[in-house]
């Protein structure tokens, strides 16, 4: 079974920092409608109100394009090639290297969603989109991808909270031309100013049905021990590592290309996800501020977004109720009024 490994690290400097975002990876959507989740390695670090998100998209072979959509907690200011070995080093800290990847959509034409940023990194075409679930879904469709049947609900789930998505398209033909082998990853570093840290977990179940398993490893790096929601030891989650990050790890990470922002001290957490797709209907909210109050909303556990319009039958029920109540009331009042008018005054 393929394992999706996500390394999400929220790193904070020695300064007091409020909540910082971390997030994981998205679901693969292929032109044939198939959903392919590959191992993903992701590092998300938070410092001075900026999220640094490093993930690697791995070449899965084949031809044409394939990709995935990743919900983001904010609008990125920069998308660039990531460090050379940051992800591998972080994974090696807690487990034998478990590379992984995930991916997103591709295409080109009518853009119902607003394209905020586009960049080509090796064989990857990355597009940052802003839009509601319908808009992003339409964009993906216009770009030749067939979203799985649960996509409309899942996209709305995220768009109601943060209408920012990253679509990463892996051009397999270009990868082969670059002599990339199956499993080779292309690291990408996304810089996102944001205030709310959360790791999108529900997106990992995109395209999976019923009892299909979702397996992922989420690594978090914060400046202090974070508070997590939901309980990282329930609901298919298990907190496997929670300890101060070693000086050696942080030093190594800091020395990689473009990774100088890694702080001197951090808290390392590893959350393993192993549950049924149908049960994974939440995200992982993180309070890295030390206040111990991760957000219900960021975990996807609180209602948000516009109210749903009432079902069509509600109008008929209200109408019938109005008729049923109004008729005797107004009719009775009218008849009583007439009877009163015809009745001679008392004592007349």
């Amino acid at each position: 079974m393929r394992r999706l490994t996500i390394v999400a690290a929220t790193a904070v400097a020695t300064l007091l920092l409020t909540a910082g975002p971390t997030f994981a990876c998205g679901g693969l959507i292929g032109p044939n409608g198939a959903v392919n989740l590959l191992r993903t390695t992701t590092l998300a670090a938070y410092h001075d109100g900026v999220e640094h998100y490093v993930t690697a998209f791995q070449f899965a072979g084949g031809g044409g394009q394939f990709g995935s959509i990743v919900p983001l907690p904010g609008v990125p200011t920069k998308v660039e090639k990531g460090g050379d070995w940051t992800l591998q080093r972080l994974i090696r800290e807690t487990d034998p290297p478990v590379p992984s990847l995930l991916f997103a959509a591709a295409g080109a034409s009518r853009d119902s969603a607003q394209v905020i940023l586009q960049v080509r990194i090796d064989a990857l075409d990355i597009t940052v989109l802003k839009g509601g679930g319908d808009e992003v879904g339409a964009w993906a469709k216009d770009h030749g991808f067939r979203l799985p049947p649960d996509a409309p609900e899942v996209l709305d789930f995220y768009a109601n909270r943060s209408p920012i998505f990253l679509a990463a398209v892996f051009d397999a033909d270009a990868a082969r031309a670059r002599r990339q082998s199956i499993g080779d990853g292309t690291p990408v570093h996304i810089t996102i100013p944001t205030a709310n840290p959360w790791v999108p977990l529900r997106i990992l179940a995109l395209g999976k049905t019923g009892g299909e398993k979702v397996e992922a490893d989420v690594y978090l790096l914060n400046d202090r021990q974070p508070a997590l929601l939901p309980d990282p030891n329930a609901n298919g989650l298990k907190l496997q590592v929670s300890e101060p990050a070693s000086a050696g790890l942080l030093k190594d990470l800091r020395s990689d290309k473009g990774m100088g922002w890694i702080p001197q001290h951090a808290w390392l957490s590893k959350v393993r996800i192993d549950g049924n797709a149908s049960d994974l209907r939440f995200d992982l909210a993180i309070d890295a501020s030390g206040r111990g109050q991760p957000s219900l909303r960021d975990a996807g556990l609180a209602p948000f977004g516009p109210m749903q319009p009432p079902a069509p039958w509600v109008g008929w029920v209200l109408l019938l109720a109005a008729v049923g109540v109004g008729l005797p009331v107004f009719g009775g009042a009218y008849l009583a009024r007439l009877a009163t008018r015809r009745m001679p005054p008392a004592g007349a």
């Binding site: 044939n32 409608g33 198939a34 679930g133 319908d134 808009e135 992003v136 879904g137 339409a138 993906a140 469709k141 067939r146 979203l147 799985p148 049947p149 649960d150 996509a151 409309p152 609900e153 996209l155 709305d156 395209g207 049905t209 019923g210 069509p312 008929w316 109408l319 019938l320 109005a322 008729v323 109004g326 008729l327 107004f330 009719g331 009042a333 009218y334 009024r337 007439l338 008018r341």
Partner: protein, 136 residues
């Protein structure tokens, strides 16, 4: 008649008229049934229609992905589960509804029975895009 009694009479008349409107639904006008697709589900997912009468189905796809509405018996659905037609529009009982669009189709069912309407795009049936149509 005082203003109060006039208002009461008007309210009574309005209520009676509304009652007539409600009871008049489903009368002589052609039968039209609206099916909304939202989050890859049919609403309603259970319908009853008479046989021998043209029925117009108005199918609203509110999702940003394509869907199908294919109505028929078990044998028809079995064929579609392994079918290769990318788009359906040639038969009134087999309709493709592109993302965020509405399609209408008129069908006359020739005999009573219980049919299903299903979207046969990959994984959609497994996800729950199934409805039941009883023809009386």
């Amino acid at each position: 008649m005082s203003s109060v009694s006039r208002r009461a009479a008007a309210a009574l008349l309005a209520a009676l008229l509304l009652g007539v409107v409600v009871s008049g639904c489903g009368g002589a006008s052609p039968m039209r049934i609206q099916i909304t697709i939202h989050y890859s589900r049919y609403d309603p997912s259970r319908l009853t229609v008479p046989h021998g009468v043209p029925v117009t189905f108005v199918i609203i796809n509110s999702d940003p992905i394509d869907h199908e509405w294919i109505v028929g018996d078990a044998a028809l659905h079995q064929r579609h589960r392994t079918g290769t037609e990318p788009v359906h529009n040639a038969r009134p009982t087999e309709i493709t509804i592109p993302a965020l669009t509405t399609r209408e189709t008129t069908v006359t069912f020739d005999k009573p029975g219980v049919l299903q309407y299903i979207c046969h795009l990959p994984k959609h049936e497994d996800y729950g895009m199934v409805g039941w149509l009883t023809v009386t």
